[in-house]
């Protein structure tokens, strides 16, 4: 099978994907737009009864332990924050994607979601160390979506994990992105970018997905958030939430120091905070009845 053939098959698979549910699209558009109110968010969510149930369930869960039962969407959204509500919408509406195994990466069911969620939490924490102001909520959403390309490319990698790992260890390739590209003629960042364009995501989210392993190649004005997600991805992998055979098989772009000021002690604190937040919310989003 030539690499062009595989690339064409990947493109066909992307073309066959369903469009992003309108509710998710609308919530994602808010992440890049300060000019919206709580009322706007409520209006989007209340049109989706299943998502409304999920949001109220999370708000009433042990992780948030409200003193009185949360019965209205507006109170739930204020309590959870828009970041978490968007996360619930992505996890709930795209659960078929995130909650599946990534067989081509030898990654079992649940690991893809754990990696995405831990990356999102870590990106938000790291945004606090950015030299220029970066919205933590945006970093969270970008972290949640950065690896969506793996959901499509995984099937084309089945049976090749050992070979790709050997390429890495023998120095034939520098990292797993290059290994994917050598084998398939494309990689999960490029495929993720194609998916994000098909879905019509905001341009900056598309670029985060495209450049998350090469943040220095992104337009200068986007690099702050790119490095934030790049490091969030690394923190998730180091924390044990990878996606199987590619875990830790990437390089940190050392130019992050021009955008993020973090030392060993603060990184340890980030690890601790990420672990706490991850324990608190990881099960809540996916215990939805959509699974």
């Amino acid at each position: 099978m030539g690499s062009m053939n595989v690339k064409q098959m990947v493109e066909q698979r992307i073309g066959d994907m369903e469009v992003l549910p309108n509710v998710v699209m609308k919530l994602l558009s808010f992440t890049d737009d300060d000019d919206h109110s709580l009322k706007d968010v409520v209006a989007v969510i209340q049109n989706d009864p299943s998502l409304t149930t999920s949001v109220l369930r999370v708000a009433n869960s042990a992780a948030y332990a409200p003193r009185t039962a949360v019965t209205t969407l507006s109170r739930a959204i204020v309590m959870l924050g828009e970041k978490m509500v968007t996360g619930i919408a992505i996890g709930s509406c795209l659960s078929h994607m995130y909650n599946d195994s990534l067989d081509g990466y030898e990654s079992v069911k649940g690991e893809f979601w754990n990696h995405s969620l831990r990356s999102a939490i870590a990106a938000k924490q790291i945004s606090g160390y950015a030299l220029k102001d970066i919205q933590g909520d945006f970093a969270f959403t970008a972290g949640l979506l950065h690896d969506i390309g793996k959901s499509v490319i995984s099937d084309f990698l089945i049976g090749s994990s050992e070979m790709l790992r050997n390429w890495l260890e023998s120095g034939q390739v520098e990292d797993f992105i290059q290994a994917e590209r050598n084998l398939l003629g494309t990689d999960h960042a490029e495929v993720g970018y194609a998916i994000s364009v098909k879905w019509g995501l905001p341009e900056i989210l598309c670029d985060v997905i495209k450049y998350h392993h090469q943040p220095g190649q992104a337009p200068e004005e986007e690099r702050g958030v790119l490095y934030t997600v790049h490091l969030g991805d690394m923190v998730a992998q180091l924390g044990g939430s990878g996606t199987g055979s590619d875990n830790l098989a990437y390089k940190i772009d050392e130019n992050y120091k021009d955008y993020i000021n973090i030392d060993e002690r603060n990184l340890d604190l980030v690890f601790l905070q990420v672990q706490d937040e991850f324990w608190g919310i990881k099960s809540e989003i996916f215990s939805s009845d959509r699974n």
């Binding site: 050992e162 055979s245 875990n247 940190i252 030392d263 340890d268």
Partner: protein
């Protein structure tokens, strides 16, 4: 007969025939694996960070999170399950993976390995075997009866430690 899963910052110990203890997908975390062959007590401590001084409050809630407070926890739990404190205790280390970072800030794995060895040294223990560092994740398990430790990694298969 059960498989006990050890999460990040947790410590699990067993003396039950047929039990296995397993730590999943270790990245920079270091698993300290202990086995008492005389009394058949086994344990795994899953260290996430080298030193508890960064957040002393967490020591009370999760002493297993840090190397300096986790090793004493492991020994207390082993003793509670039948280790007599005098007979041979086999210690092995796994994990502490790295990621390619030229300025080393993100090399938490290496700092965890060094801190685990140091904390073991303070209680006169030394690892008999190690499978640490490198840039891949590991799952590690120990059989409570035999003390056999198995390490596995996606794309690399599995092997004895």
């Amino acid at each position: 007969m059960a498989t006990l899963i050890v999460g990040v910052g947790e410590c699990k110990v067993s003396n039950k025939n047929g039990d296995k203890i397993r730590a999943l997908t270790l990245g920079s975390c270091v698993s300290v694996i202990a086995f008492d062959p005389k009394n058949h007590v086994a344990g795994i401590l899953n260290i996430a960070l080298p030193d508890s001084s960064i957040n002393k409050k967490r020591v009370t809630e999760h002493p297993g999170m840090f190397a300096n407070t986790g090793i004493p926890l492991l020994l207390r739990m082993m003793t509670k399950s039948g280790y007599d404190g005098k007979s041979e205790l086999i210690i092995k280390l796994a994990g502490g993976s790295t990621i390619l970072d030229s300025n080393q800030t993100f090399n938490i794995g290496k700092r965890n390995i060094l801190a685990a060895r140091k904390a073991l040294h303070t209680v006169n223990l030394k690892p008999e075997a190690e499978d640490v560092s490198d840039n891949y994740s590991r799952t590690v398990s120990i059989d409570v009866v035999t003390g056999i430790v198995i390490v596995s990694s996606p794309g690399k298969g599995q092997w004895d430690l």
